[in-house]
Symmetry: D2
Subunit: 363 residues, 4 copies
């Protein structure tokens, strides 16, 4: 991993919200250099700065941070015809259907780190979360063998899974988890922009259903916390039951979590588990890693999305309100807040890329 | 119960939000006539229409419905000095601390139906919910004996308890309840107006803590669904565990509920239980009773506060998203929506008054 | 106008927001009967109750009021192939481009009252506002002659124009208007649902530009308040200058208006003008007419969209904060609130239909 | 102005929103050192870190930026008994009534830069806006003479005046201003926290009246752009007419402005005037000065509060939508966005302090 030579990456789906966040996350990155941009045919051939202007001339840039200057002058290519000769790694930020088509084409040659769910539930596809399941890299050899690829595909989890798993992992390691009940209050940015959430539908309102979201969280949590056995993942042996709702918040998913532990634990022991649970990962000091992956606050009214979502630039899951629960065996309950479009999407994927390099899994 | 003579009622705390809702709920009421209004000393001596003007001359009327004309011309009296000679029943809509002082004074002579929590947790005080626990009226004799009162005090439940208990009662009757886990997303109107919820605190936000709310819901649910034994209430034998949050919604509390039943039940059986659970109560056709106390909707994205809170003028709890849950024994999960300031407050209290009369408990 | 026989009307664009509002406005109407429904080819052939279900099975009904039962069982027809043999009147609620195609086809046979802007700026097309400009009916003969139609097209004004013109008309009649400056704060429902306003764009925000809106208001105000001369409209001889913004409000357009009058007028005289300005129209007592077209409130903090938009079921423009202005000659300023999807759209169009019948312009 | 020795400043009203913003603005300041904190008697004697905890133990810190560590350990003093022996400058962030009492006491000894309106309209009190009216410093000698003070009081303008004057000043200098009409859409943070704006009042709403705000903006604009003659300010010779409204936005006041110029000007000339209007001030490179005081954006849908309020950390007024207006003589119209609690309050006051030092008016 020489500082002298950065890896050349392509960002596919660069004009969308998540794609733009990749550009921000990769701006001035010490290990990566954005060499190619791709999007749908409609944008192909335009300078990126022009491709994000709409018919009225308005710039459709969705991040708080400015667009890195280098990116503005790159020419957007057609994602379906992307030639990858000079590329070391692809980050994709596209919808499920196109992902099913183009990601396998890219994976023939290079690693693909994806925010799409297209391959998330395939048996030979690991869903990495930094600090949580690097051992799932064992699936990559399997995937290459099965599919005859030089590269591989590794999608990140659904944004609602991310904070939940980050808070569960240290508990599972230390006390064992028996079961999980969770109700989410999710931000509108999680729905993207096409169609996204209409103001008319969410203003002065809560929408208590997000199609497929609950199944995703339930399945992914068990998969990510599962163990590798005989080259395959054995799902974690506990059930997860969710109700996922949408609330009128821009960014930041709030989740009310109830957990049954296998062994009794005091609230102090649980806070301790969170405090120390990622020491090894954090000691790697990866470029995009925050000082903590989870942070417990004693403030009684926190975490709150508007006040806490940007803690450590949205890369830390903030936890609060830890209490014992008298319904579940060895029950505890808490509230978590996770930035759905930072650690929950592009910047989390970049951190995964760093992690795969540091671990020697990816060159 | 002769139509010829209406009962004369006093509304205490008439100038506040809940008090105004009493006036609306009692406007043109077939059994009740608002004979007296009381509030704090500051308003005493003013016509009601003047008492609700603020320093700038603005009218502080908080209901969507107009104020009944008769009320505008009543003179507001000092709640601490209210003389009850000609009054049959008092509705109070005041804070806990003043309620502790004045409600016992009123109860010496007349029944007091209260929205305050002041006496809610006393052993000899029933917390009535229409159609649910009229048998708790047995406590009234106890209360009178203990306290030497001619009247009595009966507070309504916390607004967050209301929808939960309405949905649990038919399940408890038919299948038995083993335990309940609930996460609420509560409207800002539940916090009243002094101080209420600042826009600065809740805009683009969720506040994951409402002081004392979770304890109230847990305790009240067990009490209201409890059974009378030897003149006292034995709490229902199941645990309730809650996380109560505030969201940016005007009216209508949304609750994501997970229930363990004592006996297995199909979703059809559960819907059936809800459909038939209040037949006896509804057959009384009380003036303020809605056609249904709970209504199940098959619409996948419902209930939603803005669209469903005014169903049957806010007197029906709307339920949706019934599914099985794989964490709790015989687990089910659903979402409910209850109007916190209609059935959850004044109009619910008026319905309780009607119920007590119809049942012969109150003259 | 016999009560015995209702006119048979077709609603085109019935599945959209405005179309649904036509159905509500025409439910149990004493003069009109909804005989036919039409929409795009996609919905054609389905029962209306099925046509408004989306892929997930959710019902897309957008009005607070329930859908009239008769409508649910009507079969939706293809708007492009609508046969009008048995129809007396068409109400259209469709986008500009399809309106350009189908409205002239309908107008060959029957009158078309439209909410689209497609023909609003044609010289021989009147833009009626009830109580304001029935004399513009003179254009209809012109329109028929020019185009060889048996019917005619009359579009309603843009929703932002409606409240403005209602408040200006009595002033123009009595004092003359020299010029108008207006800043609007418009609700999201005005943008419809495709694409509508994304929560992501308007939450915690103001969007200070609505394409084409300012030009529409400026042009339409002059046209509607113009006078007929030689069979054509001479625009009202005053300039209108607007800034139109979008705010995070569901329904109800707020407008801050500054007017220069031709003659000095006291605030009392102006309130008087508003009070009496529509006496003649109101004396017609049309079925959908409110008791007042404009209502002045002395409440200092009003009008407010959430509190005042449903005044008289959204058919009255509420005005407040009348003050003198020291910048414009004989300047006054005030704030108005107009319900953009009630009087500002379907129900206003129905009232126009009633008005045309009562005036003998339409059979 | 030696770097060696920082001026010692006291922040009065330190526990409130604006006071906390002073602490953030003064953290690591090259010229100022926060030496003393004061607040009401209730907080006196506590460490600042404790003084901002409420009864429930929650920390009431309202800024996005963290509290400077030095401040947390300072002991809060009673503002009414503050001894100023070792203080060079006082920043006050208190309500009008206490300001009337304590600011003159402080001003006997030291300069007081205030965010309160208490002395804003006194004849011998300048209301400074950086880059706009440093010549008004001539009033200070007058003020000292009249009142026998060693120090002086200089309040900043109302937050709604700030952006308006910044955009008018370059136009007034170059073309002359004939009159101004303005409608504001103001954020809730401008109302502070006691009582502040209730969510119940502003959600899904616009409140079209803010008591005294319009008079403040009208008077202050004329005063700040006025000229010094014979030791007193002659108000700028043009009228200002406003309607001030509150919208559901956290931070950032949006204003729709219509201006009559004395001389005709093209939109290019106007943009040029804005671009160059503050060159002299900006060349001072004061520590808190942004790169531009006003910035014109060509983006058609901008400025928007959520996207533009933090431009240059809230110290730049962003302007957009410049168009000609056909109502006013030489009329133009535009939209501006100004951060009401950054340049519009504490940080603007700190910049004023820097400006007074750099100009030699204050030591």
């Amino acid at each position: 991993m020489s500082a002298a030579k950065k890896r050349r990456v392509a960002v596919v789906g660069a004009t969308g919200v998540a794609g733009q966040q990749f550009l921000v996350s990769l701006g001035n990155h010490p290990w990566f250099e954005v060499a190619r941009l791709a999007a749908s045919e409609r944008s192909a051939g335009k300078k990126f700065g022009d491709a994000i202007k709409d018919a009225s001339g308005a710039t459709r840039w969705f991040c708080d941070e400015p667009c890195p200057k280098e990116a503005l002058n790159l020419t957007v290519e057609n994602a379906e015809k992307l030639v990858l000769d000079d590329i070391d790694l692809v980050f994709t930020a596209i919808e499920t259907e196109p992902a099913k088509i183009v990601e396998p084409i890219y994976a023939k040659r290079v690693p693909v780190i994806s925010t799409a769910s297209a391959f998330r539930y395939e048996k030979d596809v690991p869903v990495f979360l930094p600090g949580v399941n690097i051992d799932h890299a064992a699936l990559i050899a399997e995937q290459r063998k099965n599919r005859g690829w030089k590269g591989f595909i590794t999608p990140g989890p659904n944004c609602t899974t991310v904070g939940l798993v980050f808070t569960l992992k240290p508990l599972h390691d230390r006390f064992g988890i028996g079961s999980v009940i969770m109700t989410s209050m999710q931000a509108v940015s999680g729905a993207g922009r096409s169609p996204g959430v209409l103001s008319y539908d969410i203003l002065d309102n809560v929408v208590p259903y997000i199609p497929k979201e609950e199944e995703k969280v339930q399945t992914e949590t068990q998969k990510i916390l599962g163990t590798i056995k005989d080259g395959t993942i054995v799902s974690a042996p506990f059930n997860v039951s969710c109700t996922c709702t949408r609330v009128n918040v821009i960014d930041g998913h709030t989740e009310a979590v109830f957990v049954s532990l296998k062994k009794p634990a005091t609230t102090d022991e649980i806070k301790q588990a969170w405090k120390q649970g990622y020491d090894e990962f954090l000691s790697l000091k990866l470029p995009s890693a925050p000082p903590e992956l989870v942070h417990y606050t004693e403030e009684p009214f926190r975490p709150q999305p508007r006040l806490d979502r940007n803690f450590n630039d949205g890369m830390t899951t903030v936890i609060g309100r830890l209490r014992t629960d008298n319904v579940l065996p060895n029950g505890i309950k808490y509230v978590l807040l996770s930035h759905n479009t930072k650690m929950g999407a592009a910047k989390g994927a970049v951190l995964t890329g760093e992690y795969l390099i540091k671990s020697g899994i990816m060159q």
